[in-house]
């Protein structure tokens, strides 16, 4: 629930409760005052009529005054009660207040009832109800307009800023530029966020530079070590044991090199602008990669079936898209089983690569994560799919991994 609505709801509920209490309070107070007044008047009128009875005037004016002859006095005190009387002209029961007393005039006993109509009191209730309802309705309408205005004045910049925050990435390398608000709390929040983003950008940059520098330093060192191993291998009197040791060191150094290169590429894959784009016919790249790996697949007795008829061209960097296709197809070979299949299908803007393989035990959500290796046996860096994912993200291609016990399937939707 929005803050403004939450606050309005509180206001509304509390106002309604307050109005009910006020209504009841005012109604009962007024009612009491009026009743008291009516009683007072009834008593005065009662006394007046009594006096007229004493003077011998028996005024009967039903339903307001009724004088009934009685044999005896039942009660010496007067009694005031509410009652309702049928009024023939109105054809309904109307409320009345009455005072009943007994009069003794020279041995004649009379029961005297003096009444007054309570219709005014009923009117009071409805009048009050109408006044309160109108006030409450006006309050709600005013509240609605205040809400609209506040939302526009206060919350528009707030929502603008919120949107900025949602789309913000430290990779943008600029700090947040938030809209100023008229509200102090929001301004303070903006200030805190801006400084937070500035700090994050600075630290992100520093970290990025550090890892880039580190990678380049490593590259240089690896280059030297690699060249020295290659020279060692040229020794004429090399025995098998030494050769194997060098081979093992050299092999692992190559893996380190590969890992380092992948990390450099991953770090660079932050912005499209770093890579020149051109129009590329996808099927050409796919056929090229498949042709390159066909012999490797054959040593594993894999059957590659390609169905690439789509003439789709995409606008992106040639080396990057080749890396994507290359990583996916080499993966489908690496993680396949003996005599397995690889089906590559390009139709419309969708590329599907499906291959048989051992079951995937990991979490499919983490499939494209760094170092989430399905098997330890291959020489893969564990970064291949992370790179694929990042390149797809860079160009806004959706990528999916589907899996049933025998088949792994990766689908890319090119734009």
């Amino acid at each position: 629930m929005k803050l403004i609505n939450k606050i309005s709801r509180y206001y509304f509920i509390n106002s309604v409760v307050l109005f009910i209490i006020a209504f009841a309070g005012i109604y009962f107070t007024l009612n009491w005052i009026i009743t008291d007044e009516i009683d007072e008047q009834l008593k005065i009128k009662n006394e007046e009529i009594k006096k007229r009875i004493y003077r011998g005037e028996l005024v009967n004016d039903p339903p307001f005054v009724e004088i009934i002859k009685f044999d005896k006095i039942i009660k010496s005190t007067s009694e005031i009660t509410d009652t309702s009387i049928y009024i023939s002209s109105e054809n309904e029961q109307e409320p009345f207040r009455q005072i009943i007393s007994f009069v003794n005039k020279d041995g004649n006993y009379y029961k005297l009832i003096v009444r007054t109509s309570l219709i005014e009191k009923e009117d009071l209730f409805y009048t009050l109800l109408i006044i309160f309802s109108i006030t409450l309705a006006s309050l709600i309408i005013i509240l609605f307009f205040i809400n609209r205005k506040t939302t526009k004045d206060i919350f528009t910049p707030f929502y603008d800023n919120l949107n900025q925050l949602k789309n913000y990435s430290v990779k943008a390398e600029t700090s947040l530029q938030l809209t100023d608000s008229k509200i102090d709390e929001f301004n303070e929040l903006n200030l805190a966020l801006s400084s937070l983003s500035a700090k994050a950008v600075k630290e992100y940059k520093a970290l990025k530079e550090f890892s880039e520098d580190l990678s380049h330093e490593l590259q240089t060192l690896v280059a030297i070590i690699k060249s020295k191993f290659e020279l060692l291998l040229q020794k004429v009197d090399l025995d098998e044991e030494s050769a194997n040791s060098i081979q093992s060191a050299y092999h692992n150094l190559n893996k380190l090199d590969k890992l380092n290169r992948s990390l450099i590429l991953l770090a660079k894959l932050e912005s499209k602008d770093l890579f020149e784009s051109e129009s590329i016919q996808l099927k050409e790249i796919i056929n090229k990669v498949v042709d390159n790996y066909r012999d490797i697949a054959e040593t594993k007795k894999l059957k590659i079936v390609t169905d690439v008829n789509s003439d789709i061209t995409i606008k992106c960097n040639a080396a990057l898209i080749e890396t994507v296709i290359n990583n996916l197809i080499s993966n489908s070979i690496k993680h396949n089983i003996e005599n397995g299949n690889i089906d590559i299908k390009l139709s419309g803007n969708t590329l599907e690569i499906q291959n048989t393989g051992e079951s995937f035990t990991g979490n499919t959500e983490e499939f494209f994560d760094r170092f989430s290796k399905a098997s330890k046996k291959s020489d893969s860096t564990g970064l291949g799919l992370a790179i694929v994912k990042k390149i797809c993200d860079l160009y806004g291609y959706k990528i999916e991994y589907l899996y049933d016990p025998e088949n792994h399937k990766i689908i890319i939707y090119f734009k």
Binding site: T220, K228, E230, Q234, I246
Partner: protein, 225 residues
Amino acid sequence: MKILIIEDQKELADSIETFISQDGYVCDITNNFSEAKENINLNDYDCAIVDIMLPDGSGLDAIELLKKIQPKCGVIVVSAKNSLDDKITGLNLGADDYITKPFHLSELNARIKSVIRRRNFDGNNLITINELTIDMDTREVKVSERTIDLTRKEFDILLFFISNKKRVITKEAIIEHIWGDDSNTFGNLDFVYTHIKNLRKKLSEAGAKDYINSVYGVGYKFSVE
């Protein structure tokens, strides 16, 4: 043949020199831009290996100078950055090839050979080793005038061997040369063996000497006297 190595990592430059001088190349090593300028002004080179990142300047400037003074000299750009910009700028300045650090010495050597071969092209583009004749234009291989039919990859492997003859070439270097940078991650590298086995078979069936020897599990060597 005279080669200029402009590389700030002295140890790497020494490795390159040791590896390529086996073929009778004479190398001049410079570790910075100012020395490189002197060398370019003083000597004639057939090929230069130029690192982009130098302590006192950019290797790109060295390429520009080299192309101005010695237009016939081949240039191979070496960069630690896998940066396309360097590659494009380097090639636009007239560099013949581009290689990223770290590289296999055998790969660099093959590139140098290729650049020199292209630069010194004088009508016939033939490589002859004893009974073997390789025509670079038609990609035809003959053993004592008898043409043998090689697949594209077999031909490329043979050429890679010949460029690095008398040296041990690792399986990794062969794979990267033929299948590309990304292909070294296949746990099983036996597919190289299949190609080399076929190549040896075709050569020996045509009557060639068996030049290609396996060196333990490490790689292969093209031995020729």
